[in-house]
Symmetry: D2
Subunit: 336 residues, 4 copies
């Protein structure tokens, strides 16, 4: 039996046809490099339109880089970024924020299902500033969270509002922003919520490797290309990072395919024989499963991933099929 | 008249068909991430075969990152890398080596047409070590050089030999290694010449953004994936960085298309009415042209780039056509 | 009533007479700079003698720098250092390890009174290495701990032994090593215990600002002066950082005055009306005291410091007098 | 014959009596740490008074750190600092600016005797900004220069004025600012000249290791203590870095002893049998001397230092005696 990776992550899927077709379409003729080309401009226009903002947009190949690079533009090395204790930047990026930020720190806070608890934020913001601690300069929120939970606009605005009162900047890790949007998070309100920078995830949404850095605070764009080059994030043939966005955005595939992924997760949740540990508000289902059971599941060929909080995670993507959900549900019943 | 960018750089061309087809072919089914997939393994195998080595291979989207990341693995922050004074890492990468290397220094040396002069290297290696200078820990050579000149195997081996006597490591910036190979540089001798790390350029050769980091000294591979992740250079959907290499290497297109680019440069050189300033040993032609003449050329629609040494540079690529060379030659005659 | 800072920290005391006299004595004539002088050599000799090792010794003005600089020599930027969750490097050095180490991470472990629990270390060492986490390359122990607790030689050797089995290096934060030595920690066994680098604290022991970096693994000394210079830690008039050590070590004042500080802490503990929260094994007494009580104490002029674990900390030093302990004990009784 | 180091550098001298006496005087009682103490405040007051400014003042032990730390506050990692090609930060600080600045670059300019030529600055400022070069964000001037030459107020104001027109900040490396002041450079005009940060050298002036960072732009002081701590530059017993300044400034010794050093250099110059290569405007004499002659001089016991530009350098200090100048002049005549 062939191993099945379908649900290991949403980055194990390939690229959606719309992305690949746009890539091929972009492969015509000569074009200037480093983001000054027509493809990059068109992709940026589509993003500005989608978000209803007058932002500067850049594309990089790695979500880790997109986060770390933009956070380093918001906080100095001797300052810190506030994030959830299970945020990707804190647990899964091998210390990249500290590298891009020359030792910039993270202040990690608790909260259910990856959402920062407002009280925890209030306490962190009330901390006395001292010379021997890294005081916060930015707040990073992830929507949807690492546990698939959705922040509402109101919740986000309240957290950012509290942070801005103390002079902090706000960053959105939107690796799964498409899933958040499909879940009702209003993209056209990002600026109003107070974000200074938003990362829009392409990769997990179904692109070849590409993430958009949206500089809502356009003053951050000054010398940002040099910042990218300095950090090894400015590719010469930039059109290939931008092109998939044209394919994903022109016809709305970025959102509709995320809606599909979310629907697949709901379907899986509906048939899940194990206790579900986090709200199924996007494309992941996190369950309570002991190790012997997980081993039995794996022996049936189904790969799955034990996550930060010890839950077992099943991720759906644009490429998840009804058949796969059925088959997995069958296997889960069998080992449950 | 439409502006023509054909000769501005070899990164203004699109991707060769072989690269794009392989990318599409890699877009099947689910695959593990971060380089552990079958596509990445196959591409690495092809590179090992081409170089006849037992090396570890990684793929990144940016040549600047490939250089800086690997140099940071060879020299400590308080040490330096020796390179040519016009090396890309010294002049065109916005200080990336210093960033990836936490302040790692560069010691820049002279030499004709981008080739380090052996005497200059000898003097640099003979410098007394002090606490207030960054002593060299690695030598970086670029082949072909920024001026299109080719180092011979003998010349490379002599420079590396001198460096290794002082304990230095050796790095190859092979952004245009395909052009060097097409010019006679023996790829299967890289290990014998003493390189510890070689960067194989994909982008300028005709790939979508991708560069191969070849760790000839496999001890460098320990935790290298974490090093990449830490530096924002490990993408989840790694297969899309590896796939083009399968297309370019399986049928030899990486080399044959570089040979085409080199031939186009020779053809252009043969018809060049301006003094040629560097040996035409690969895909570039560097000429002496004053500013008014360059302006006239530009007014005819031909974009060109005044380079580090004030020469005007015309670069050919896999996509350069006979027609374009003819047309440019015509225009040059007209303004000359 | 004048505020009394005596017990706020052991760094609020001045320098012991022996240190200052040696400083004055070193102020004769001309001397080469950057550590190549006779004063630096003599101080290093005394330290080698005290520790019975053939180590390389350097002096810096800051304990934070001593720790961060030496840890950066033990772990790469994409690696991590294991330490106690309340270690000074984790809680009180403003992210310096991450700065000196270019994003080098910390893995923080629990354990009573600042001593890493062996089981916690075992678990950390057993963690699977992945590309998205910073795997450990060094273990940092603090003796005495931030809570004044003493590691025994056996306990240290066991922790380091476990770490070395996994290839880690070992670092000693000895900001209060004098107090540990006075408490019975055998200085001449540091090498046998497996430390690669030990920081010997001068400042808290009663020096003007000076900490000794003892490179027990002498291979670390290669280009270490350049590493110091690069990191702004190599002063030209190095003799003034070394001289106090001559005064403190020649007559044994470094140890005997630490023994005095320890004795003062025991005396204070004996009269302490509040619950003592950590073993009094060196020069600090940590007690359970609510905020109103602490405020009353402060209103009597006694400054005190609420510590990481919320205990109130009273630190003794070489300069603590019997009278001061009596007076503080009186005040504590009054507010208790 | 004992080797004589008198003229090797101005950092081979000990500390002037005023500095050491103030250090001893500061050694009374307990004091808060990290710069919040009465000694630090008093020293800062004296500096503000001397410069007639409302600046924030910090003290560090190393001039390299003082420069690099403050430059990192003026330029981002992907930006550069403009300085003279023989500036200490460019040639003698082991890449510290690149370390403190996370890869921050230097743009080095020519000019006689260490003074940046206005035309060279104009050209550098006129450079087109690109993504692949580090564009300048600050100008660093050294007064007196590494060759002992003095910038006039007019010359400084003109250079800074040009830089400020392009939005750059201005930094003064004043390692020998006392000598500049003694030569007529008006300290009370630093703010008017446009400096944002000035480093006032204590060490070479005759202090134990201490340099003052004067933040003329007080907005830079925000979280500067954390910046210092993060970079290993905030010592707990800060009073010992501040105290010497009280001794040196209260009675004017910082200036009068620098005037003595300058006078000794003039005296040496008057008797110099070798061609003098740079204007003797402060405390150094730079001469043209071939290697055999230098060797003969050394064989007479006189140490001397061949400098960046291949001149042989003789430095005077507060401790240089008439007798020493006579004796050296005698020796020079003998070998000349």
């Amino acid at each position: 039996m062939a191993a099945r990776y379908d649900f290991v992550s949403d980055n194990v899927a390939g690229a959606m046809p719309e992305a690949l077709e746009a890539l091929a379409a972009a492969n015509q003729g000569f074009a200037g490099g480093y983001g000054g080309d027509h493809v990059s401009r068109r992709a940026a226009d589509l993003i500005r339109e989608l978000l209803d903002v007058d932002a500067e947009v850049r594309f990089v190949a790695s979500g880790t880089a997109a986060n770390a690079l933009s956070l380093a533009a918001l906080a100095a090395p001797h300052e810190a970024v506030i994030c959830h204790q299970d945020a990707h930047i804190a647990t899964d990026e091998a210390g990249a924020p500290g590298f891009f930020g020359a030792g910039m720190g993270l202040i990690t806070l608790p909260g259910d299902s990856g959402r920062i608890h407002p009280d925890a934020l209030a306490r962190a913001l009330a901390e006395l500033e001292t010379s021997y601690r890294q005081s916060p300069a930015a707040l990073s929120l992830t929507n949807v969270t690492e546990y698939g939970a959705l922040y509402s606009e109101t919740a986000v605005a309240a957290l950012i509002g509290a942070a801005k009162q103390r002079g902090l900047k706000a960053h959105l890790d939107g690796a799964r922003l498409a899933n958040a949007a499909a879940g009702g998070f209003p993209l056209r309100r990002l600026a109003a919520m107070g974000f200074d920078v938003a990362i829009m995830g392409g990769t997990k949404a179904g692109s070849t490797p590409s993430e958009a850095i949206v500089l809502l605070d356009t003053s951050l764009a000054r010398r940002f290309d040099a910042r990218m080059k300095h950090a090894g994030q400015l590719v010469s043939k930039a059109r290939y990072l931008a092109a998939p966005w044209i394919g994903m955005l022109e016809g709305g595939a970025w959102q509709t395919r995320a809606a599909h992924a979310n629907a697949m997760a709901r379907k899986l949740a509906a048939r899940m024989p194990f206790p579900i540990l986090h709200p199924v508000e996007s494309n992941g289902v996190f369950v309570d499963m002991d190790e012997p059971t997980l081993e039995r599941l794996r022996s049936l060929g189904w790969q799955a991933y034990r996550f930060t909080d010890a839950s077992v995670r099943f991720m759906c993507s644009w490429a998840t099929t009804d058949e796969a959900v059925e088959a997995l549900a069958e296997a889960l019943k069998q080992v449950g």
